[in-house]
């Protein structure tokens, strides 16, 4: 066990105590033993099975309770040599925030016509080729990017004397900024190349912030597109202005304060309840048809009141054996439910009006009088 620990520490180039702590954290997280984790890190094949489950297990970044404690991460030898891992190594070597290292390296690389990786490796004090060879030789982890995770998972609030102390002091400050770069990169008016090349997202930085930076301007643009010339009448308290008098009026042009009821429209909405039996176009179904003069034959002009009563009572409540001008037998066609309990008198009148106008072909003004909904019934809200 101790020997294993030493081996891992050597491979990873980090203090044994830190390795142990990281491994313990990993082990607790994925529910395996410390030894199994260490074996896996040491590259022992025989302890491979918990390792294969790892990448998924370590995914939930939110589990890491701590500020993204990158300090330990840089020391971990990357399974694959990426710019990210080199940045971490260089950052550790120079004891500077990774962000600065990367941006500096980018600039240096441009000037010296070498690659960023070379510059970083130089700063980290490692041989790039050697590192690459070592990485190739190491057993390939299913998801190399997840490799630095064990160190991140180590609870940094535990004091560890062996952890590089200066780095520990710096990192809580510097680490959030690493994430910050990514969030601002797509939005910043000064898109800096180095920002785009920053290592992948780490925990501790609220993801919603990046989303907000995109969403908010988007909302503003949507607002401009939707209301280029102010809101429509009725929106946001906006009223219509009569162009001749300049007075504010209701959206339908009536004087302000007058409530214009549109019974036909109301009836159209209420007809949905009738459409199950009489069909949406009034051609009938379980119930009789309204179209083709059928409705006005039963309830001719002047008898809307009877139609209203029939609708309210239905077959069960109708007192006589027949109904309508044609003396249709009650229940002859089927059961008509009574709507009196469900709809108000006015609503029944409105749906009757709709039936008569839409399917019976009665003129609107005549039907309105017929059904007792006089002249669009402009009722003055404030007259009382």
């Amino acid at each position: 066990m101790e020997e294993l620990l030493q081996r891992v520490a050597e491979i990873r180039g980090m203090p044994a105590s830190l390795v142990k702590r990281s491994a313990q954290a990993r082990a607790d997280k994925i529910g395996t033993t410390l030894e199994a984790v260490l074996r896996e890190w040491a590259g022992d094949a025989d302890a491979g099975e918990p390792a294969s489950a790892q990448p998924e297990a370590t995914e939930p970044l939110s589990d890491a309770p701590a500020p993204p404690a990158a300090p330990a991460a840089p020391a971990a030898p990357p399974a694959k040599v990426t710019t990210d891992s080199l940045v971490q190594l260089a950052a550790d070597a120079k004891r500077m925030p990774p962000k600065l290292i990367l941006s500096s390296a980018t600039a240096r690389a441009e000037h010296s016509e070498s690659t960023i990786d070379e510059v970083l490796a130089d700063w980290a004090g490692v041989d790039l080729d050697e590192l690459r060879a070592a990485a190739d030789a190491a057993p390939a982890s299913p998801e190399p990017a997840a490799e630095p995770e064990p160190a991140t998972a180590a609870p940094p609030e535990q004091d560890s004397a062996s952890a590089p102390t200066s780095a520990k002091e710096e990192e809580p400050e510097a680490a959030p900024e690493v994430d910050v770069i990514e969030a601002s990169a797509p939005e910043a008016d000064t898109p800096s190349e180095e920002a785009k090349e920053t290592p992948g997202a780490r925990s501790g930085y609220p993801r919603w912030l990046a989303a907000a930076f995109v969403l908010i301007p988007l909302l503003a643009i949507i607002y401009i597109l939707l209301t280029p010339s102010g809101p429509d009448c009725g929106n946001a308290g906006q009223l219509l202005v009569d162009p001749t008098t300049g007075q504010t009026v209701n959206c339908d042009g009536s004087a302000f304060g007058l409530v214009q009821a549109d019974f036909f429209a109301e009836g159209e909405i209420l007809y949905v309840q009738c459409a199950a039996c009489h069909s949406a176009d009034g051609s009938g179904g379980a119930g009789p048809a309204f179209t083709g003069g059928a409705l006005l034959a039963v309830f001719p002009a002047g008898s809307c009141a009877e139609q209203i009563e029939w609708t309210q009572l239905g077959t069960a409540g109708w007192p006589d054996p027949t109904y309508g001008a044609t003396n249709k037998p009650v229940g002859g066609f089927g059961l008509m439910p009574g709507f009196g309990g469900r709809l108000t008198d006015e609503q029944v009148a409105a749906v009757s009006l709709f039936n008569r106008v839409e399917f019976g072909g009665q003129p609107l003004e005549q039907a309105e009088i017929d059904c007792g909904l006089v002249g669009g019934a402009a009722t003055e809200a404030a007259s009382s």
């Binding site: 900024e177 910050v180 990169a185 503003a220 946001a236 308290g237 007075q247």
Partner: protein, 612 residues
Amino acid sequence: MAGKYVLVATFLFVLGLVTTTLAALQLVLPDLLSGTAYTTYGRLAPAGRALLASGWLTLAGLGLSFYVLSQITGQELRRKRLAMTALVLIAFGVFATAGALIGGLSSGIPGQEGPIWTRAISAIGYLAASLVITAMAKQRADRLGAAGWYITAASWWLTASALFGLIPLMSGIPGSIQAAFVYAGTNRLFAVSLAVGLLYFAFSKISGVDPTEPRPLAALGFWSLTLVWAFMGGVELIYSASPDWYETLTIAFAIAAFVPLLAIVMDLGLMLKGRTASIPDRATLRYGVVAGLALATATIVNFLAAWRATSGAVQYSTWTTGLETLIVLGGGSFAIFAANSVRRGGRASGSSFHFSWSLIGVAGASVAFLAGGAVSGFSWIAGPSSQLFPNYGPGYEIAVASLAPFLWVAAISLVLYSIAQVGYLLRIRTTSSELLEVSEAPIEYDLQFEGAVRYLTWRRLVWGATAVWVAAALFTAILPMMDNTSTASSLTADRFRTYEAGTLELQGREIYISEGCAECHSQSVRPIVTDVGLGAVSVAGDYAHEDPALVTGMRFGPDLMRVASREGFDPSFVRSHLIDPRSARPWSIMPSYSYLSEADIDAIVSYIETLR
């Protein structure tokens, strides 16, 4: 030099607070000192605003900018003589503005009430101060850090906007929009970015972060803040006769203002994250946090005031006053307190007394203004929609009565705030410039690393800041002039609202301006429920012959756009109402204008008769 600036600014601060508090008290005690022309509300209120915003905020801000830059660059202040000239010019300009306003020489332009020559003096002073700041900043051009960007850009925006304000206005609505742009530049863009710059400096000092450290989130915050606040002037013109596209633009940028809010709050938060407990300089920390909160609240209030659904339901007078309080006395003053606390080593005695009383004062005043605006706004809606009472004449009693308790709270809060400042000034003894030791070792950044300078180079700062300002000017000041619909005169304008030289009406209009009637009376009928019954909805053409148009959003008193064409209008009532407002309407909060001569009253009445 920073000390001299702050000293003069403090003097203006006290003067401005006395004036503003007196004006606030006059809203609840209308007979307070209303016997003379020099102490009438309409003159005191704009004078107080000028002293606080252009005097205190600007001078203290510029002075502390010198200090911040000398800290950032590690150099002594350069061009001291020019800095001294700037101080003299700005201070003189502000005094002259306040004096002119109290003496009755108002220009009538909202936000730039001072006569053009006093504003010109100040503007030249701003220019001189900006040159000093630039000379300082250039020494470390590419490594200024967030504080440096904000401060440098803010001074130039102030200068550019103030100079632009000297260009004679267009008449009518385009002029109002132009004025709104200048106002946005001086009282919003400058005030907010200055406050944020000082906060960046104060927070980095107390937390041991290098203020010149390149912070990407700060760059995002900087550019988005400047972009949105440069377009913010039109909030008071929402629903007015200004072009719809202009209002839409204002609202869109009010929405977008949440980007800088989030970026800056997050960035400043990251500076302090995990180390608040170990910061020795508690005074600066407290001031800074309150300033940040005030600016965050201001962003939200600004959005609500611009968003049509809410703007139609609140009383603008109190909301614009509340917003102004939040930005100038909240964000601005507290950021100055924070930066000044750093300058004085964070150990001035009496700062906790000062802090708590100032906080209570600012919070009380702004909350009272905002809540009062909402309450009386709903009373405005209730009247017309129930058709029980209109929002003018005797019906205005409801609005006045519902607002009164809030105005009391606001006035008392302002008194508390003023007492805190005076008490603080009397107790200041220590002038140690030694900084309290920061317990944590400051982070060392090796500035030899080339990439560090890229977030904001000097070139980007100069060109970007110029571009933002020019774009704002183009969209919110130049473009409205080309909009035909807002320049062609209407029948009303040609027939009634035309003021020939030498007429009694023009004379009356001049008195209306000099006495600051527009401080309480808007001239704008909007197409929303609150304004039903006030007459025909205003169109841009109605103001075509007025320079400046007296639109405003202020309605401590009822709107006067069509007062003469309303039912029951009686010129003789106007006359008696001006002399003794509480004889017929005991609830009125209008000051008495008995100090005006008979001829002046005649002139005002004949002007009022043209408002049809």
